[in-house]
């Protein structure tokens, strides 16, 4: 398992990427880059990314559209060749041992690859054959997975008649037919309604409970927050932060966010607020004063006192702990869903 070559490539080891280590690192990525060249334009979709994924974890790749998440997944799942850098999936190096890698991974791509004209059963049976599931156990395995996603009674109906959530769940277990070591889920809940999304999350957790390492990309904060043990933020092809969700939030110096609604602004309020020394920053935006403070609920009375001193009526008050969204804004200065759709997700065809 551990016969992974040392860090290869450029300018020695970077401090960020650990040397080949314990067996629990199931994916190792080192200085991986992917540049798409199109006529006289070139786009760097993945830009010198290095990180490891531990065995058994749910690892989230989070970022806006066009951040390079899908491209990275496509490289790891052998669909695309990296321009430079290297990656190992289990003990196999990407581009050198692609066939072996395909045997131990399950992939649920962003765009559905189900054959909607076939039945749920046929879809799974067909992939079971492609995935080398033993003939003798294939039927039982298919039925077991259909049961897992509550589709037993619809086993012999064409997938065309299924709801979006049912299709997605079916596609996820399809990737799990051969009990892969690693499951790649590219935007598993995109376009699903909240109920279906919740069901898919449950499904992912069930699969993870069977010791499957799961790598998922998403641009939904709550999804990453709910599921992922560790989250890598990507933006414009670069890895900008990697940690557990708790640590990510702790990394924000601002602390809690207090938002106070108002109707008319009085001059001097903002400077008075910062003068108390209790808040880190205060700004007015869209009839709201947004204040960040380390311990929101403790400092709130003092803040209200300032508002009263200025005789400024408040229309609303809210305090919230930082979310991953705030982490992203803190890291990049932009909102997550303000995608810059600039980078192709990979050459179709």
């Amino acid at each position: 398992m551990e016969s992974v070559p040392g860090i290869s490539g450029r300018a020695g080891a970077s401090p960020g990427s650990p040397p080949s280590g314990g067996n629990d690192r199931i994916i190792r990525i080192q200085h991986l880059s992917k540049v798409f060249r199109e006529k006289n334009r070139s786009v760097t979709a993945v830009d010198d990314v290095s990180f490891d994924v531990f065995s058994g974890e749910i690892f989230g790749l989070l970022g806006p559209n066009g951040a390079g998440k899908s491209t990275l997944i496509r490289i790891l799942t052998t669909l695309l060749q990296p321009t430079s850098g290297s990656a190992w999936v289990d003990r196999y190096q990407v581009t050198k041992k692609d066939e072996e890698i395909r045997g131990i991974i399950g992939v649920c791509p962003q765009n559905s690859t189900l054959d909607v004209e076939l039945t749920a059963y046929d879809n799974l049976e067909f992939y079971g054959k492609l995935l080398n599931v033993e003939e003798g156990i294939l039927h039982d395995r298919v039925m077991q997975l259909l049961e897992m996603v509550d589709l037993t009674d619809r086993a012999h109906m064409p997938v065309r008649t299924f709801s979006g959530g049912m299709k997605r769940k079916l596609e996820i277990v399809r990737a799990f037919l051969h009990r892969p070591l690693i499951l790649f889920l590219d935007e598993p809940t995109i376009g699903l309604d909240p109920d279906s999304r919740w069901e898919v999350w449950e499904q992912i957790e069930k699969l993870n409970a069977e010791r499957t390492t799961i790598i998922l990309t998403t641009h939904y904060m709550e999804e990453a927050e709910k599921l992922c043990h560790r989250i890598a933020f990507m933006d414009r092809g670069r890895l900008i932060a990697l940690d557990t969700p708790e640590n990510h939030k702790r990394a924000i110096p601002a602390g809690d966010l207090i938002e106070i609604g108002f109707e008319t602004m009085k001059e001097g309020l903002l400077s008075a607020l910062t003068a108390t020394g209790l808040v880190k920053s205060a700004e007015a935006k869209d009839n709201r004063v947004i204040i960040s403070a380390l311990n929101g609920s403790r400092v709130l009375p003092s803040i209200i006192a300032v508002f009263e001193k200025f005789s400024m009526p408040m229309t609303s008050i809210s305090i919230r702990s930082p979310t991953l969204e705030d982490v992203f804004i803190y890291l990049t200065g932009r909102k997550l869903d303000a995608g810059n759709g600039d980078v192709p997700t990979g050459g179709g065809r």
């Binding site: 799942t77 052998t78 669909l79 066939e99 395909r102 045997g103 991974i105 992939v107 791509p109 765009n111 559905s112 690859t113 189900l114 054959d115 992939y127 492609l130 995935l131 080398n132 179709g348 065809r349």
Partner: protein, 362 residues
Amino acid sequence: MIRGAVAIFTRDFKKFLSNPFVIVMTLFMPVMYLVIFGNAMGGTITHIPIGVVQDQPYMTETPLFTAAVEEIRNFHQPDKPSMFDVTIYSSEEVAKLALSQGRISAAVIFPSELSADHVVRVYEDSSDYMVPSLIEAGISSAMAGTGSPDPVAINRIYGQIDYIQFFGVGVIVMAIFMTTMMGGAFALIRDRELGIIEGYLVTPVKRSSIILGTIGSTTVRAFLAGVIIFIFDILITGVAVRRIEDFLLVLIVIFIASIGVTSLVVALASRFSTQQEYASVVAFFNLILFMTSGAFYPTIGMPGWLSWIAWFNPEAYTVHALRSIILRGQGIDIIGTDLVALGIFSTLAIFLGIATYRRTLE
């Protein structure tokens, strides 16, 4: 109301203009129909090869023979080149052999005497369309020109063959092409558009297995379509297959043609990313290959440049081979050339298909 209509109109037009390839093909197609259909179907049949023999006892060429051959050579329709290319054979056997091998369309045997008791015997390849009646008309008129009293007796060596039987054989080829083009390749492009094929690529299945499975399934479908139409031919048009060898030979020809056409179509389908582009190209291929194959109309009626295409046309060889077996009861000795040509085409097509399709998988 008008505003909405204009918006839709503009949108449709924008999309239409954004795909110059399809525009060119949609305009090109009718013109091609005109040129090819017009020439293939409306062309005048000329230069029909026929053989003439002076019957035994042979001393010297009789005046009848000399006069009749001259008449036949010069026979033509107004403002057209002569209708017959005449070859003089030394004996009836040699002429009949040439006829059975398809080198000539008729053998005319002239008696040695000028008299109403001696018959001018015409043996003609009745499996062709139009050509037999032209031969009959031409020879009757030539004989009238010589003023001789000898009657003309026509022998249709393959019996009476109707147009539906002639055309029915061509339809087998059409079935093969239709199945691969419509069923096989469109499904392939759609699978790719829907990303179904990309799904295969992350499984351990070998690239070669994907190619083999795809070409295999379409080939078998095309083969079955061909065989079913063949059986329809037997039932509906009344062609008769007399020997089991003939039946097997037909299956072999259909199979080689199916795998070749399938591979070619897979190669084409791999080059085009949208169904629309593929459809316009394949419609063009279908037109040019089917029209020049001789399925509708004898290849002899086509102008030179079109029969030149027929020379490279695998469908022409398939039609010829099938017609030889089904209508003329001929065997491997006659269709050997067709089989070799088809074999070369299919081998090339398979390599092209595999190489082109493989590229889309990487």
